[in-house]
């Protein structure tokens, strides 16, 4: 049977605030356990939550970024469950009246087609702490540094139809939230975690099948693998006449499988009710308008600008505009060297290539934008060829200094001195009489091929530093002279 895959995603996005959503404790990643957990986060008696304005502002920015209705009045609720990393016994979340209502954004697939994906809602909530089950001889260790970190839970409509679309959705969302600056989007550190709701239905049907939810998948690659695995599992069940059970499953990356969570944990009844410790959140339309006026440029708009202002192709523009740090790096290189196209090429091929090979983030690049721009200027002004430029770039990457000092120290400056080149061309012609004779006897098309031999020899003689355009011109002149001399 032909199955249609129906996927909706819930993303928990960690907001980039300095302090927690309801307390003044720090949110920095990687601190010593429990050093950033204050009395509010520990649920000491009598502690009361006070809402962080920046978390509200970031939620509004997200809402504006996806063209959503902003809830000018929203309410926090208690979601009740017992787990040791949740000291209050409830999570403060939003249930009935979220801060961000319906919105949407477009995703672009590899074949270039564009799909609009609906966002059902996004709401503010606090994160729980971390449970460490290893190494404590039949006990569980609890770190509450993460407890109270602000999260925006972003719920999509069941509009996604494949693993490819789900990954494109997450990448677009990542690019949107990092461009807005509301999250660092660092998946490895858990800043963006994803729950996958997935069901199958016979192709052409418009009723939804029973779904399973896969919890806490935290990389693009795992999302893809978990979806492939789950589609196969559900298809096997349905094709053998069984029924999919609505349940929560965990993706185990080590074994590449999803498995059911214990039924006890699934039998949750969260008993939501309005949080009595917080008043309703009411924000003014004028505040929303002022946030809108100061919204940074979003990836879709930036992509259009790159095409219009820099003459980039659609693909280059999409890659370079997606993430704000890369876009800013690219623009600094383009402006610094004065040639947007060579900058696009070098940033994508050389810079991203080196970063990927060394598994580095852009912020860790040993070559910064002004340094790369300075190198490209030397290619553009003819001091070095593009090929030598790559050598210089590698030396810069290895920390040998800036472009000019490497070019000087290694003597890489392109030979554009015509008398020096004249001598090299003459030497190659003198040393290869047979090839010269062949060349002179050949017709126009064959001559073009044969001249490649001479250019190669001259480049070799100059150790790659001869200006290729000048070599070509001088060679043509001298070969023509040789022909005339030979005729007389």
């Amino acid at each position: 049977m032909n199955w249609e895959v129906v996927i909706g995603l819930e993303v928990h996005l960690q907001l980039a605030t300095q302090s927690k959503i309801f307390s003044g404790a720090a949110t920095r990643f990687g601190a010593e356990p429990n050093t950033q957990a204050c009395a509010v986060d520990l649920a000491m008696p009598g502690m009361l939550p006070v809402l962080n304005e920046q978390a509200v502002r970031y939620a509004v920015m997200f809402g504006l970024g996806i063209g959503a209705e902003i809830g000018l009045r929203s309410v926090f609720d208690r979601k009740n469950y017992f787990y040791p990393d949740l000291p209050k016994g409830y999570q403060i979340s939003q249930f009935q009246e979220p801060i961000v209502g319906r919105g949407h954004f477009d995703i672009q697939l590899e074949d270039g087609s564009v799909r609009r994906i609906g966002i059902t809602r996004a709401h503010l909530e606090e994160d729980a702490g971390k449970s460490l089950h290893e190494d404590f001889h039949d006990q569980t260790g609890i770190d509450l540094n993460r407890a109270g970190t602000p999260l925006l839970e972003i719920v999509s409509e069941p509009d996604l139809r494949s693993a490819e679309e789900a990954v494109a959705y997450l990448k677009t969302l990542h690019s949107l939230v990092t461009s807005l600056g509301i999250s660092d989007g660092n998946m490895a550190e858990g800043s963006m975690r994803c729950d996958i709701n997935l069901s199958l239905r016979p192709a052409g049907s418009d009723t939804l099948g029973t779904r399973a939810e896969i919890k806490n998948v935290n990389s693009f690659r795992f999302v893809e693998k978990a979806i492939h695995h789950e589609v196969e599992r559900q298809a096997d069940i349905l094709e053998s006449g069984g029924k999919v059970v609505q349940e929560t499953r965990l993706y185990d990356a080590d074994r590449d499988e999803t498995r059911s969570m214990r039924s006890k944990e699934v039998a949750n009844d969260y008993r939501y009710f309005p949080e009595p410790d917080l008043l309703p959140i009411v924000i003014e339309q004028s505040w929303v308008d002022s946030i809108r006026a100061r919204l940074p440029e979003l990836p879709a708009a930036r992509r259009e600008r790159f095409i219009a202002d820099y003459g980039l192709g659609a693909y280059d523009a999409t890659v370079l505009a997606a993430e704000r740090p890369l876009a800013e790096f690219y623009e600094a290189v383009a402006k610094g060297c004065g040639d947007a196209k060579i900058a696009a090429n070098w940033v994508q091929v050389e810079l991203l290539g080196q970063l990927n090979r060394n598994d580095l983030q852009l912020s860790e690049s040993p070559v910064d934008a002004p340094a790369l721009a300075a190198l490209l200027q030397r290619i553009l002004d003819g001091s070095i060829s593009g090929k030598i430029g790559k050598q210089v770039f590698e030396a810069m990457w290895a920390g040998e200094g800036d472009a000019d000092s490497i070019i000087e120290a290694r003597g890489l400056r392109q030979v554009s001195d015509s008398s020096a080149l004249q001598a090299m061309v003459a030497e190659v012609i003198r040393d290869n009489p047979e090839q010269v004779a062949q060349y002179l006897a050949a017709d126009e098309t064959r001559r073009k091929k044969l001249s490649g031999f001479f250019v190669g020899q001259i480049m070799k003689l100059s150790r790659g530093q001869a200006n290729p355009q000048m070599v070509s011109n001088l060679l043509n002149e001298q070969l023509a002279d040789a022909g005339e001399n030979g005729d007389t």
Partner: protein, 102 residues
């Protein structure tokens, strides 16, 4: 005077499930009585629900006020030592609790 209009049916296994969710232990011999008492409370809720509230906006808080927001600044210093001094068990800076997974 309140009169119970309809007694909502609540069974002993509903009570057992609720007790588990709330982490409350109800001894077997008391379960029947607790069930009967909760049934009475639910009857009262049923009675309240019979009021026509179509024109009433749901109330999240009885106070006629809205939430004040806090400036995003770190104001809490590390007080781990003080907090952990009163914890039953700690190790390497972590709070220890009975194992929660098998």
């Amino acid at each position: 005077m309140l009169t119970v209009v309809k007694v909502m049916t609540v069974h002993q296994d509903d009570i057992e499930k609720l007790a588990e969710l709330a982490r409350v232990r109800i001894p077997v011999e008391e379960a029947a009585e607790v069930t009967a008492r909760i049934a009475t409370i639910l009857g009262l809720v049923d009675q309240l629900q019979s009021v026509d509230t179509a024109a009433v906006e749901p109330m999240a808080n009885p106070l006629d006020a809205v939430q004040r927001l806090r400036v995003d600044a770190v104001t809490e210093a590390n007080q781990r030592e003080a907090f952990q001094a009163i914890a039953p068990a700690v190790e390497n800076g972590l709070y220890l609790v009975p194992k929660v997974i098998e």
